[in-house]
């Protein structure tokens, strides 16, 4: 009911290249970063453990990202179910 949180993050940056985004991601303990083609300055930050989920948001990780001057916005991705038909 309450939904679950993943360690995938959507991060909006100030005019950063994919390499700079990747560096920012690894500095903060993520595995990698990938630019979203359909939006400006939006990146998908991949966690090292892809399948880990949690009940509560990772406030500490998020606050650390938000403090970085290169970061505009941080959205921790909620996990939800989709089923094969």
């Amino acid at each position: 009911e309450e939904g679950i949180f993943t360690n995938h993050f959507l991060v909006e940056l100030h005019e950063q290249t994919e390499d700079e985004a990747h560096q920012l991601a690894t500095e903060n303990g993520f595995d990698s970063a990938r630019k979203l083609p359909f939006a400006k300055d939006l990146f998908h930050f991949y966690p090292k453990d892809l399948t880990q989920t949690r009940r509560r948001r990772s406030l500490q990780l998020r606050q650390r990202l938000e403090k970085d001057h290169r970061v505009k916005n941080v959205i921790q991705q909620e996990g939800f179910s989709r089923t094969k038909r």
């Binding site: 990938r34 939006a39 892809l50 179910s81 989709r82 089923t83 094969k84 038909r85």
Partner: protein, 529 residues
């Protein structure tokens, strides 16, 4: 939709070809001869999907499979849940990740290589977008998948969705909606990505209008029939379904299933569910795209409406009806079963439909009680924004954006009747949905049933309860959204078959255009005198 089967001399040496009744139905496995996708006619015209790329958004494709490898588009394949460019299906000991490989075979299995069967568009390229084998979905994974390489991928096929448990109301989240809008506006060089969706497996307990993917205007929602034209039982019906193809899930006969490729080089006769229907439709659309690469995402929907055939589709529950411009539709099957030959022939000479406009036709904002017996009837009388820039004269999609709460959401029934008298079931009873808190909050119920109609006049929304115990509810608001064209979409099309729906629609448009011209000139004469 009948043709002389002997006239079809399509021979393939693939061992399962004769069991692919959805391609050519000769009555095998107790089927109905002639009830198929009519791909033979399109193939004979030379359309086999060359130059078209279809992405299967699922759990990966066995790209080493000898029947798929030659058509696999590795460059357009990716895994967004783990950032992996080689999205091979992950091993499970219960064969769970075979879904994408089975879907891929229906579209692009190679022909005449003496392996498994043949894809609907056997010369197309198939890409694997692996995004379904992780324990959860996220908005960013979905959005990235549905917008992957939109200048390379022409068609995205999805055989998944929110849980079909008959009590879920869910759809694309913010980023995915943004990605889909981007796809239909900028994909394929501005002609728009084609999104094909399997309508749902919730059967009579569910309603695919509660699935925001299937009921989106930007996706072509596909239902399925079995080889004798009956519903496959698990099919969900709803007013946003545009057309149908074939699957199984009802007959015990092992050969009544969908024959296709399977994991690790295998073949299967048992692919089923509406999952099998979407890739077949994607294959048919690929044949139409080869016939005319300039088709826009809307052209594809118009062609599907005009060339789908009632054929021998039989729905025990919903009658076949005609809408206000004579187009025959069924609540479960949409406008009928896709006809690949008919679609490719019409696509070849098709002229892009006129620009699309959007009109907020009206809104009722005062909360109104929904009593346990009887119906709440709300009317919006509209001129469809006539006289304004966004006037809509010929309908494509209609949305009723509804906010309603109920003591038992599953007992709610919502019907919409157009000025031409076409009645659409926007929401049917969902006996398992006992929600009493969330309700529907600005939920965009969509119908395709009024396709081509003149939207000016009174639209009637009826809200009531159907169930075992008395319920009560509050209808907080509803807004009517009209989407369509200002000028007649078929008036310039070339008619080859004077028995066709196109001929009927074009004739109707000519008559109406003439009437309206006469009316305008009379008015101007009267105003002068």
């Amino acid at each position: 939709g009948y043709r002389d089967l002997n006239a079809i001399d399509t021979n393939m040496n693939d061992p399962l070809f004769s069991k692919q009744w959805y391609l050519i139905n000769t009555g095998q496995a107790d089927g109905t001869p002639g009830l198929d996708l009519n791909v033979a006619e399109a193939w004979e015209l030379g359309y086999t999907g060359k130059g078209v790329t279809i992405a299967i958004m699922d759990d990966g494709i066995d790209y080493l499979h000898p029947d798929l490898a030659s058509n696999y588009n590795a460059d357009a394949s990716f895994d967004f849940s783990s950032n992996d460019p080689y999205p091979y299906p992950r091993y499970t000991d219960d064969w769970f990740n075979s879904h994408g490989t089975r879907c891929a075979g229906e579209v692009s299995a190679a022909a005449n290589n003496n392996i498994c069967g043949v894809g609907v568009a056997f010369n197309s390229k198939v890409a694997g977008i692996r995004m379904l084998d992780q324990p959860f979905m996220t908005d960013v994974i979905e959005a990235s998948s549905i917008s992957h390489m939109p200048q390379v991928v022409d068609i995205y096929s999805a055989s998944w969705g929110p849980t079909d448990d008959g009590k879920t109301v869910d759809g694309p989240r913010e980023l995915t909606l943004q990605a889909m809008a981007d796809g239909v506006n900028k994909g394929r060089g501005g002609k728009g990505s084609i999104y094909v969706w399997a309508s749902g497996d919730g059967g009579s307990f569910d309603d695919c209008n509660c699935d925001g993917y299937a009921s989106s205007m930007w996706t072509i929602s596909i239902n399925s029939a079995i080889n004798d034209g009956r519903t496959a039982l698990y099919d969900e019906s709803c007013s946003s379904t545009l057309a149908s193809t074939f699957s199984n899930g009802r007959k015990r006969n092992p050969e009544a299933g969908v024959a296709t490729t399977d994991l690790y080089g295998n073949c299967t006769l048992r692919h089923s569910g509406t999952s099998a229907a979407a890739p077949e439709a994607a294959g048919v659309f690929a044949l139409a795209l080869e016939a005319n690469p300039d088709l826009t995402w809307r052209d594809m929907q118009h062609l599907a409406v005009l060339t789908s055939k009632r054929n021998q589709l039989h729905d025990e529950v919903h009658q076949w009806r005609r809408n206000g411009v004579g187009l025959e539709f069924n609540h479960l099957f949409g406008y009928g079963v896709l006809d690949a030959g008919g679609m490719a022939k019409m696509a070849k000479e098709w002229k892009a439909v006129p620009e699309r406009f959007h009109c907020v036709a009206g809104s009722v904002q005062e909360p109104r009680k929904v009593a346990s017996d009887g119906k709440l009837v709300l009317t919006i009388d509209t001129d469809a924004c006539q006289g304004k820039d966004n006037f809509v004269r010929y309908l494509e999609h209609v949305q009723a954006v509804v906010t309603v709460n109920a003591s038992r959401r599953g007992d709610l029934n919502i019907n919409l009747t157009s000025p031409a008298g076409t009645k659409s079931i926007l929401l049917s009873r969902r006996p398992r949905d006992e929600d009493s808190k969330v309700g529907f909050d600005k939920w965009p119920f969509m119908t395709t049933h009024t396709w081509g109609e003149d939207p000016r006049g009174a639209w009637i929304l009826e809200v009531g309860f159907r169930g075992d115990a008395p319920q009560r509810g509050v209808m907080k608001e509803w807004t009517l959204m009209l989407h369509g064209t200002q000028s007649a979409p078929y008036i310039d099309q070339i008619v080859r078959d004077y028995q066709s729906k196109l001929a009927m629609s074009k004739k109707q448009e000519l008559e109406e255009e003439l009437d309206e011209a006469v009316e305008r000139s009379l008015k101007s004469l009267l105003s002068k005198s």
